[in-house]
């Protein structure tokens, strides 16, 4: 992929997907959120800086569709003690920047700086980081092939975090 020379309209459409993705998480519309991923799309939260291999390096999450569905199902479970009372999350995003576009304009990578805040049982945690969205164009619009979240605190001890960042 090369550095992008794409139309302002395409840029806006790509950015809109990243913004919508964060909003669906914050509004806990998790089925709609999950549907933004491609069939083989992955969510990756490395536990080190500069991680290269999600399978052979420690990661906080590396979820395929099946595991995302289990996570979502769990958050709704009446047995999820840690969701009593129910928590909430908030993504504060900077403008997503299109870093790469394939020549055929069907693969893209966007970089978005963010602060993730989670409120649970009266306790607030705040985690800054950078999200990398690898998107592909499909018949139904853009889909997430990989969302990689690099936390500033990736390699630090973290408190329990309930939601997808």
């Amino acid at each position: 992929m090369s550095s992008p020379q794409i139309s302002p309209e395409l840029e806006r459409n790509l950015q809109a997907l990243v913004v919508r993705e964060a909003r669906l998480l914050d509004e806990q519309r998790l089925d709609e959120w999950e549907a933004l991923f491609a069939e083989d799309g992955r969510y990756w939260l490395p536990a080190s800086l500069g991680a290269k291999d999600p399978l052979r390096e420690a990661a906080h999450l590396y979820d395929d569709r099946m595991l995302r569905r289990v996570h979502i199902e769990r958050l709704r479970s009446a047995h999820a003690h840690s969701q009593q009372p129910q928590g909430r999350c908030h993504h504060l995003l900077q403008t997503p920047e299109v870093l790469e576009a394939s020549p055929t304009e069907d693969r893209f990578r966007l970089r978005t700086s963010f602060i993730y805040t989670e409120l649970r049982a009266g306790r607030t945690i705040s985690l800054p980081g950078v999200a990398h969205h690898h998107l592909s164009r499909s018949a139904d619009g853009f889909l997430i092939v990989l969302k990689r979240v690099d936390l500033l605190h990736a390699a630090e001890p973290l408190p329990a975090v309930e939601f997808y960042i």
């Binding site: 390096e57 420690a58 906080h60 289990v70 047995h79 309930e162």
Partner: protein, 440 residues
């Protein structure tokens, strides 16, 4: 703490006092006694493979560095310059350049801790410096023993040697290390660390608590079952599901899993079966093990698949997947737990991938399984203070006095916890040296 004394009144045969978890004074005394008298896991020698490599951590509240010396042996030194007390290294891990050099005034030490140089040396001539403690250089935190790459240290000796204190844990370590055809494990892939606001003993108990999964982990197991559903016959169950679904096992399973209590608070849970029993996908790996260790030993190694081997007070291992948890107690109500993965050398990478997947699913601070545990630990730390009953019950199957360890027990017998607290009381008790003011 006004009405009870430490530790005598806090541990009874079948219940323990809540001050064990809630009291900063008890934690301070644990640092002066328990964590200095037990063999503490420090790190694995594969973290410092080459001379001059180090890692830092705290033991009993003291900053130490674990260092590979020039002669390849391993030192656990106070991370404190003998001059003015500055830390010699501040990074979690790294490599020193030939000597340890204090960043403050430039005193240097060889890898055996000897003071090898300082600026303005002539200024010490004619002083009593050579008779001072500073002249002795870096002091060792305590005795150090390395077994199969696992580095343990103890600040205060009770006169008994390592093998005596560890007992059957030595055989357990050998069985786990022999999962490598060349008999060597390597820590690989990095660590997952979670900080939680609860006492370390709540976590340590939980490692031996086979009754909680049915209720605590219902959210994870029911969700996994709901998503997995009933796939058509012949569908291969992915490893992620094979790791998750067994958490939904019932009380009968856990009762039959069996345990073995060992002296010193140590234990093995899952001597007959465990949630990990069905993992081993063998093929070429099984063949390699048989070639390396012989038929009988290979079978023994692969059959050893306990739920947890507890190295009291701060470490626990699983044989399959090869993962390790280390507790780093920070305060009476604050603990970091580390989850590490092992690559058995000479074994397929799939074993490391399986260990890392397990840690993501079960021990990550964002994992499916750990959330409910951590939430409950942090809530217990607060709710335990409530009410007129200060006691935590450990009565299950406590009919009469517990027999002497080592012995085989049922998988849900709370002797697995009573055994930890018997060791706690012994390690916390006053010793002759305490009265003399040397140790306490």
């Amino acid at each position: 703490m006004n009405t009870v004394s430490i530790p005598g009144d806090l541990v009874r045969a079948d219940q323990v006092h809540r001050d064990l978890y809630l009291s900063p004074e008890v934690f301070a005394l644990e640092r002066r006694r328990l964590f200095r008298r037990a063999w503490l896991f420090v790190g694995h020698d594969s973290q410092i493979a080459n001379p001059g490599e180090f890692m830092t951590c705290e033991l009993a509240g003291e900053p130490v560095l674990m260092l590979r010396r020039e002669d390849a042996s391993i030192a656990v030194l106070h991370n404190r310059c003998a001059h003015k007390g500055a830390p010699l290294v501040s990074a979690p891990s790294g490599q020193i350049a030939r000597v340890l050099r204090c960043p403050y005034h430039g005193w240097t030490y060889s890898t055996d801790g000897r003071l090898s140089g300082m600026p303005l040396r002539e200024g010490y001539e004619g002083t009593s410096f050579t008779q001072s403690a500073a002249a002795r250089g870096l002091t060792s935190w305590g005795e150090v023993v390395v077994h199969r790459g696992f580095v343990f240290a103890r600040a205060e000796s009770d006169g008994k040697e390592f093998r005596h204190s560890m007992g059957e844990l030595i055989e357990a370590l050998d069985l786990i290390a022999d999962r490598s055809p060349v008999g060597r494990l390597r820590l690989a892939g990095g660590v997952l660390r979670t900080e939680f606001r609860a006492n370390w003993k709540i976590y340590m108990e939980n490692i031996n608590d086979s009754v909680h999964p049915v209720t605590t982990h219902a959210s994870a197991t029911l969700s996994a079952r709901a998503v997995w559903g009933t796939p058509p016959e012949g569908t291969v169950t992915p490893l992620a599901m094979r790791q998750l679904l067994p958490f939904g096992s019932g009380y009968t399973f856990f009762e039959k899993m069996g345990g073995r209590v060992l002296p010193g608070g140590h234990s093995i849970l899952g001597t007959h079966q465990s949630l990990h029993t069905s993992y081993s996908a063998l093929g070429d790996y099984g063949e390699a093990l048989r070639r390396a260790h012989g038929e009988a030993r290979a079978a023994e190694v692969l059959a050893f698949s306990p739920q947890n081997v507890v190295f009291y007070p701060t470490m626990a291992l699983k044989g399959a997947p090869q993962v390790m948890r280390v507790l780093r107690p920070l305060a009476h109500d604050r603990t970091v737990v580390e989850a590490w993965a092992f690559q058995p050398e000479g074994a397929p990478d799939a074993l490391l991938e399986s260990a890392l997947l397990y840690n993501r699913q079960v021990f990550s601070p964002l994992s499916l399984v750990a959330h409910d545990d951590l939430h409950l630990f942090e809530r217990i730390q607060r709710s335990l203070a409530a009410g007129p009953n200060p006691w935590v019950s450990l009565h299950r199957e406590a009919r009469g006095a517990d027999g002497a360890a080592p012995r085989d027990v049922g998988g849900v017998d709370e002797v697995l916890l009573r055994n930890q607290y018997a060791a706690w009381a012994a390690l916390m008790s006053e010793r002759v040296t305490d009265a003399a003011g040397q140790a306490a």
